[in-house]
Each structure stands twice: as structure tokens, then as C-alpha cells.
């Protein structure tokens, strides 16, 4: 079981839900399950080409990542956090 955690800025897309537990072995699997369960979030985290939006931060188990390596394994207690943008003024 991995847990996604969302900034409250995303409340309009998540209906106020700040976390989501998913079962997956890889980051890619976890992301796909997250989008399946919360499809409205996808357009806000990823651009039209599927790349993480430039000012959105994602931490996987405390490590800042741009999600390039989506094949990386995740553990049963992994935390995947999407944070509010901190750039842009």
C-alpha cells in the first residue's frame, strides 16, 4: 500500500480529499491507479504531454523527483507527495 498526499490547493479537483491509498509495486503503477481513482487530478499534475507540470513538486519517500523513472519500485509504506508550487512569485 502506498499513500498519495495532495496539497490543499488541489481541493477543487480532489473534492477536498488530501490523501489516497493505492496498491502498486512501482511508481508507474501507483500513478496510474491514482489517476484511475481520481481522474480530475491528472490534468493539474501533468501537462498535455504527460510530463509533470514545471512548477509542481513531487516527493517520493522524501526525495524530490520529476518522475522521470516511473519504473522505480515503491514499498508498502511509500509516501508520494504533490506539493504546492513554490515558484512563480
Amino acid at each position: 500500500m502506498a499513500t498519495f498526499m495532495f496539497t490543499r490547493v488541489l481541493d477543487p479537483a480532489t473534492q477536498g480529499r488530501r490523501s489516497l491509498d493505492v496498491t502498486a509495486d512501482s511508481l508507474d503503477g501507483a500513478l496510474k491507479e491514482m489517476v484511475r481513482q481520481m481522474p480530475a487530478v491528472e490534468v493539474h499534475l501533468f501537462d498535455h504531454t504527460g510530463v509533470l507540470r514545471p512548477h509542481v513538486l513531487c516527493f517520493v519517500d522524501g526525495e524530490s523527483t520529476r518522475l522521470e523513472d516511473r519504473s522505480r519500485p515503491i514499498g508498502p509504506n511509500s509516501k508520494i507527495r504533490f506539493l504546492q508550487a513554490v515558484s512563480g512569485g
Binding site: V9, L10, D11, P12, A13, Q15, P39, A40, V43, H44, L45, D47, H48, T49, G50, R53, H55, V56, A85, G88
Partner: protein
């Protein structure tokens, strides 16, 4: 009567009679457009410079949910902002940036591109202007449609939106070379209005001034008699009185009212001449401007105008008397009557 106010930081509901404000909805997000599914849900265009844009839907303007299968170009190009909604029969259209139109035939649940415009043969010549590259104005009457795209121009469709042709003859060429041939596109329309009873007479607030067509856009003529400036973003028709309203700004390089005199101007002769609309305006210098989506009319005397400094002006007698509502908001980009 209540007003929906879309701002840089959330959406609000305003009772102009009392100044009571409810909200915000979508706190922290830009609310860029309001609309309504024919006979059904409210719609809101909501966006963020960081998290992108989406359409939200509500049965009561209180509980909102994001449309999951919203408008989008797929991997072809980005959709960065929702600019307008326009209902035609059972269909609702939205105009977006990067410029294009999308339509929903199922109450806003799913959306598909208006490909005759979105894939237009001139598309590779569409270049963003100061306001980006957005489709912001939609008109329709008896199967004929018009779309206004900033920095591109007006397009007309005579087959219900299947095929489109640019209609900008009479608008000054965007090219500075006097002998250069007129390009098909590159005309920066800011707003459109018409009277459905006479649909081919269209008024156009353009980057280059104020214009009118009597033939559905085939030819345009300048109509600025009495205006202190031709620049602006507003064109609004009160159908009951056949009055036409705009809010002039000094120029494209100085987008504020001339001499700080914030006023709406009215034409009572279909644009032949203009004068200050009624009374109630402040003599205090006011350098607010009005953006293209921040004007709403019920067509029967009530008009509301939101400004870039967060004030809201309302008339309920077709412009004879204006009052500034005692409430202030973040920069206003969208106004709608509820």
C-alpha cells in the same frame, strides 16, 4: 438578482443591492468564465498558472465538481485557460486558450473539439498577442456562428460550426508595411456583440478600435464618434432598449481610462455616436479597466461591470443610473448574472 464574480483568487456571489458576499468558491484559483448548460447546471472555467485549467459544474452554484472528460487537445497542444461559455439549443460551447472551441451535447459531461476551427488551414499563422491566444467570443443565430480569437480575428461559420472563414475586411492590417498584402489572420478582436433580432449587425471592440458590420462580418466600418478612445475590451448590447455599451481605455500602450475618468459609454443609434452612459460615476480619479469577460447583461436593462481593481458597477435601468457596489474583490475577469 445576484452576480457571480470570477477573480484572480476565487469566485464569489454578490448581492449588489446589499453588498453581501458569499464565497470564495475555488479559493486561490482563477475563475475565468461562467456559463450554464441549457436548462441545467452552472459551469465555471477555473484555472491556475501552475496547475492548469478545467471546467467545473454545479447544480446550485454551491457544490461544484470538476468535469473529468473536459475540453482538451490531447498531446497536440496545451489548453491553458477557459475563456467563455455559450449555449446554442441543447449544446454548450466553450472558447479556450490555446485558441479553439469545444462543444458539449450532453450537459457538460463530455466535450469534443470544433475541428473546423481548431484545425483551420490558417492555424500555423495564429500568433499570440498580449492576452495570449484565446477564443473568447461566440455568437450564434439561425445556424450561423461567429467566433472571436484574440490576435487572430473573427471567423464565421454558415453550417453550424463545421467550416469557418476569416471575416475581417475593413479592420486595419496588422502589418506596418503600407504595401504589404492584407493577411488572412492577425486581427486582434477583443469583444463581439449583436442583437439576435438583427444577427448580421455585429459590433466589435477591437485592438484597433470600435467597428460595426451590417453584413455578418463581410465588411467592417469604424464607429468611434464621441468616444474618448477606441481601445478597450467591452462590447455589450441591451436588447430591450437597443443600447450599446463599451468602456474606453486610453490606448494599447496605456490601458486605463482617459484622464482617470472611469465611465461606460453608450450608443443609442447602433454605434453611429457615443456619449457617457447616464449618471452615478465618481469624480474621484479611477484608473480601473474592464476585461472582456467582466461584463454581463440580462438584455432587459440590467448590466454589471467588474473591474481590474475589484469594484463592481451595476445599472438596472439600461445605463441611466450606475452604482458602485460596496464590496471589493481581487482583479475581476468574469461576471455573470445568476
Amino acid at each position: 438578482m445576484q452576480l457571480a464574480i470570477g477573480t484572480e483568487k476565487g469566485g464569489y456571489v454578490l448581492d449588489p443591492a446589499t453588498g453581501q458576499v458569499d464565497g470564495p468558491v475555488f479559493p486561490g484559483w482563477k475563475v475565468t468564465a461562467f456559463g450554464r448548460v441549457p436548462g441545467g447546471d452552472h459551469l465555471a472555467g477555473v484555472g491556475s498558472n501552475w496547475f492548469g485549467a478545467a471546467v467545473h459544474r454545479s447544480p446550485d452554484f454551491s457544490e461544484w465538481s470538476q468535469v473529468e472528460a473536459g475540453p482538451g487537445y490531447g498531446e497536440e497542444r496545451a489548453l491553458s485557460e477557459i475563456w467563455t461559455f455559450h449555449a446554442v439549443g441543447d449544446t454548450v460551447y466553450t472558447g479556450v486558450a490555446e485558441a479553439g472551441l469545444f462543444r458539449s451535447d450532453d450537459g457538460g459531461t463530455t466535450w469534443s473539439g470544433v475541428e473546423g476551427l481548431n484545425q483551420h488551414r490558417t492555424r500555423d499563422q495564429w500568433v499570440p498577442g498580449g492576452g495570449g491566444l484565446c477564443a473568447h467570443s461566440i455568437l450564434e443565430a439561425d445556424g450561423t456562428m461567429w467566433a472571436g480569437i484574440s490576435a487572430v480575428g473573427v471567423f464565421r461559420s454558415e453550417d453550424g460550426g463545421v467550416t469557418w472563414e476569416p471575416k475581417n475586411e475593413g479592420i486595419p492590417s496588422p502589418l506596418s508595411e503600407p504595401d504589404a498584402p492584407r493577411p488572412e489572420v492577425g486581427y486582434c478582436v477583443h469583444a463581439l456583440a449583436h442583437d439576435p433580432a438583427v444577427p448580421d449587425r455585429i459590433w466589435r471592440q477591437d485592438h484597433a478600435g470600435v467597428f460595426r458590420t451590417e453584413d455578418g462580418g463581410d465588411t467592417w466600418e469604424r464607429i468611434e464618434n464621441g468616444l474618448p478612445a477606441g481601445f478597450g475590451f467591452v462590447m455589450c448590447r441591451d436588447h430591450a432598449t437597443q443600447r450599446l455599451f463599451t468602456v474606453p481605455l486610453h490606448s494599447d500602450g496605456n490601458r486605463v481610462p482617459v484622464d482617470g475618468a472611469f465611465r461606460s459609454y453608450v450608443s443609442e443609434d447602433d454605434g453611429d455616436s457615443w456619449h457617457v452612459a447616464g449618471a452615478g460615476w465618481t469624480d474621484t480619479p479611477d484608473y480601473s479597466s474592464v476585461l472582456r469577460g467582466a461584463v454581463a447583461s440580462d438584455g432587459d436593462g440590467t448590466i454589471a461591470i467588474g473591474t481590474t481593481t475589484g469594484s463592481v458597477w451595476v445599472t438596472e435601468d439600461a445605463g441611466d443610473k450606475w452604482a458602485c457596489v460596496p464590496a471589493r474583490f481581487p482583479r475581476i475577469g468574469a461576471v455573470s448574472l445568476l
